[in-house]
Assembly symmetry: C2
Homo-oligomer: 117 residues x 2
DNA sequence: AGGGCTGGTTTCCGATCGGATACCGCCTTA
DNA sequence: TAAGGCGGTATCCGATCGGAAACCAGCCCT
């Protein structure tokens, strides 16, 4: 999941910061713990993950719930607002999948003669 | 159009860089000249505009056409791919409009107690 | 000859982004 | 008592983003 070799920088859409969209996807099937998020989000550092989660929380897309008990347990879950965000996000993802070949071709064509950028 | 006082940083979606989405919108009703883009995109500097346009061109969303003649004339137009991009973009915009109040409320609530970020 | 418009480029700079690394308190288990 | 997992923080750093300002060539008009 979320292979770092995947050329996702090609995707023309973004939701929030670098990891936000992936976090939302990870949470769409239910709450996840901090460490359960780190696994699928390959390569994310604790700092970046915390930062993204704090922002998603501040913006009302995610709630942080700390359970008290013997073992420490913190779970993150989507709010209704965050769940709704998945709609347009899915639309964008689907469009990207449908036009993937065109995106690749266009960029490769546009790349010849534009070394930098 | 595109009032700088508009709190658009609240919008959770992004397409490309800061000006890309606005440029696409400006082009949706037909080609526009460089200087015709600068007007509605209030506050954009020539550098930023050029940069965004070059990227959009490289990625195959926009074409640059230079007309020869007495007066200098350069026009930018959407490609079919760029036109298609407006679909999911519109979906995202509409979602944002529908949930605007929730977005505001959520951020205001989330802001109390989170000074920075 | 000078000034203006068009479509940029160049340089500089501060702000932000995000990775690397080290460290932390708390709790459980061996 | 030490080791290890959990859920982070703190600090540093290089890369990128994007605005400000200056400058430019080519062409027009006066």
């Amino acid at each position: 999941m979320f292979d770092p070799v995947c050329p996702s920088p090609l995707v023309p859409f973004r939701v929030g910061d670098k990891w936000a969209a992936l976090i939302l996807r990870c949470l769409q099937d239910g709450p996840r713990r901090f460490s359960e998020l780190k696994v699928p989000l390959r390569g994310v550092t604790a700092k970046s993950l915390t930062q993204s989660l704090r922002r998603l929380e501040r913006d009302g897309f995610v709630v942080r719930e700390e359970y008290e008990g013997a073992e420490r347990r913190v779970e993150y879950a989507l709010t209704p607002l965050g769940l709704g965000l998945l709609g347009p996000l899915d639309a964008a993802c689907e469009w990207t999948r449908e036009h993937w070949d065109e995106l690749i071709d266009a960029r490769e064509a546009g790349l010849s003669g534009a070394a930098d950028l």
